[in-house]
């Protein structure tokens, strides 16, 4: 794997290889010294053109846990504010000879463009409403740990699919892993032609009981002004996942940040069925695995692991 630009580029086998790698890093995370020297002497640049808490912090920590040097650039306050183009910014950062560039950008295809300009491996950390492959991988990882396999599992993605890169990447990833997908939301928030991605489309939660997993999406408040839905109250009345609608055997996921009381009621967020905190924890190890796959998997020697001062190889995960 040269770059991680989209989930679409990955086969089931490749997805599983990354998740298996993530399992081995989870083991590292349980040690006192949670750091391995794998990427020592190499540089990872994170370049974020949009606000982010989870994705940016977990990529940064992932790079540090792998002993990479980290340069973290946020568009706000950088030369981007002075009108520098993406191409020129990438050329500037490339002067540091980074091994990887992790890019979050408000427009589709930005990571793909950067991959064409830079020598570094490029990780798409979200491009517009297009894709968010590392999110999809961590969600599959989280579900796989809980369910063993996604094969034949019914997953409902509920909410503002139109504006969600997470929905798109997760649809592709969940399908690749054998799940059956239903997408549900108000008609104006479901893109026309989405069913051609291989999912069912519903505009009511009536049949939500069929789902093994309910994946709720964030509803941005500004959508009200554009008449996608008449009001928050009306949206919540029809599409909020609450304890009445969520059955006791169903799992609940959400990419964060949550609008409490809009797409999810407070009680389901904190319920035992909620995987939301686990998703965040998975984010770190999965992003370590992504950097490892891109930067170290081709290395001839097995990656050494620093544990209690002794270098030991990472065992192949079961």
């Amino acid at each position: 794997m040269r770059h991680l630009l989209s989930i679409e580029q990955l086969s089931k086998v490749e997805i599983e290889a990354i998740l298996d790698r993530a399992e081995s890093f989870a083991e590292v995370g349980r040690r006192d010294i949670k750091k391995v020297p794998t990427l020592r002497g190499r540089t990872v640049v994170t370049l974020f053109y949009e606000a982010s808490t989870r994705t940016s912090s977990s990529f940064e920590l992932a790079a540090k846990r792998l002993s990479a040097d980290l340069v973290s650039v946020k568009a706000a306050g950088s030369s981007v504010d002075k009108g520098e183009s993406l191409k020129d910014t990438v050329a500037t950062l490339s002067a540091y000879d980074p091994a990887a560039i992790v890019l979050r950008h408000p427009y589709a295809g930005a990571a793909q463009l950067v991959a064409g300009w830079a020598d570094a491996a490029v990780v798409n950390a979200g491009d517009g409403k297009h894709e968010h492959p590392s999110q999809a991988l961590l969600d599959v990882y989280t579900l796989r740990r809980r369910l063993g396999s996604l094969e034949g599992k019914r997953i409902w993605i509920v909410g503002d699919v139109l504006h969600s890169r997470v929905a798109r990447s997760n649809l592709i990833a969940f399908k690749a892993m054998g799940a059956e997908l239903t997408v549900c939301g108000p008609p104006a928030l479901i893109p026309r032609g989405l069913e051609q991605l291989g999912c069912e489309v519903e505009h009511s939660l009536e049949r939500l009981g069929e789902a093994d997993v309910v994946y709720a999406l964030r509803l941005q408040r500004e959508r009200m002004n554009e008449s996608f839905v008449p009001s928050i109250r009306e949206y919540a009345a029809h599409f909020q996942i609450d304890s009445r609608r969520l059955g006791s055997r169903q799992l609940l996921m959400h990419p964060g940040p949550v609008n409490r009381g809009v797409e999810l009621s407070g009680e389901v967020i904190d319920s035992p069925q909620s995987l939301i905190a686990e998703q965040v924890a998975s984010g770190l190890v999965v992003r370590m695995a992504i950097l490892y796959e891109l930067l170290a998997a081709g290395d001839q020697e097995p990656a050494p692991v620093a544990g209690n001062g002794h270098a030991t190889p990472i065992g192949q995960p079961a």
Partner: protein, 448 residues
Amino acid sequence: MSAPRLQMRAGESASLVLREATVLDPVAGIDAKHDIVVRNGVIAELVAPGEANADGIEEIDAGALHAFPAFFDPHVHLRTPGQEHKEDIETGARAAAAGGYCGVLAMANTEPPVSTPADVEALLAEAGTAAAVKVGFLATVTRAMEGEELTEMASLRDAGAAGFSDDGLPIRSARVLRRALQYQRLCGGTIALHEEDPELSGAGVMHEGPVSAALGLEGIPSVSESTMIARDAALARYEGGRIHVQHLSAAESVEAVRAAKAAGVQISCEASPHHLCLTDEEVRSLDPQRFKMNPPLRSETDRQALIEGLRDGTIECIATDHAPHAAEEKEVPFEQAAMGVTGLETAFAALHTELVLPGTIELGPLIERLAGGAEPFGVERPSLALGSEANIALCDLSARWTVGEDGYESRSSNSWCAGKELTGRVLMTVAGGQVAYRLRSFSMGVAA
């Protein structure tokens, strides 16, 4: 009422013999091998192969070549004034000549827009010194393209404006368009319309459908175009106005024009080579250089409807909507990139390769439509009939070439055909009675 003025650089009138050319001019009813003799810029003789007396003028062996009436494009962007880093009259006209065109009409959405008689006069004067082919200029319908007040349409016509268009933007207000159609009775001048309802297009960047759903790009629905065509056809009918619908892209739009024509509306329309050859599937590449334009590439159903419209005459002409942009305006993510692709240099070759060779459309109707953009604006159609001003596209239908390998005549390189291998090439163009273009290798080959 004033006639449109078109200007080109004055030069030496062409005198030459095209020996044994396959001559095809469906409108003039010519479809046979002939010697064509051009003397002093006029088609002086059209005689049986080998019969012409060269009398010492240049002879060209055209035995393996086709001679068509040169093409006419009613919709190009020459970016002058204000955006000469993308194109100017000289480079744009050169691109037209290289594509076999003898004339083009330039749109008015420049910086500032062409809104005053002085603007039109200055541009015509510039074309008179710089353009290798005839260039006419449309003026905006509304002042500064703001969609509010009409320009001085009658004075603009007197200055030589070839018509009116706010192309790049729709005329949002039905009231304003109605006033323009009323005023048209006084001054003439076809009103060319960029049909799009901004309320429906929103911030869309591609066709709305399964591909936009998959890419997470905001879509421009087909009905954004067709509803405006229906509105404006109704207005034109009510006021007895003359309108021309630009760059049709959707099946619903073809239906709307067909219905308007059946109802007797004075309406004509155009389709662009890229809409006739490509679909929104191309956008999966997220390459704005080749595949981002407005109106957007649409579905295969839409493409087929355009082809059908071209065949049955609902669409009377092909217009490239040649829209040059500088590299830095295209080397950005798809949503941020400028809309538009260049097309003058490749229109014939692309349509020949994509539509004629597979048998989708015959050569005759294609040639007819490539020059069909003149009449809707009151410009005389290029013709190979005896006694006509010489406007000739000399083409090698078997020549294979890769677009862009030798660069472009245009100042910009955002060709939707970039890197494509095409079959069929313009070797020489005679425009307004002058030799406007020779492919370098061709002129080298025959110079001896």
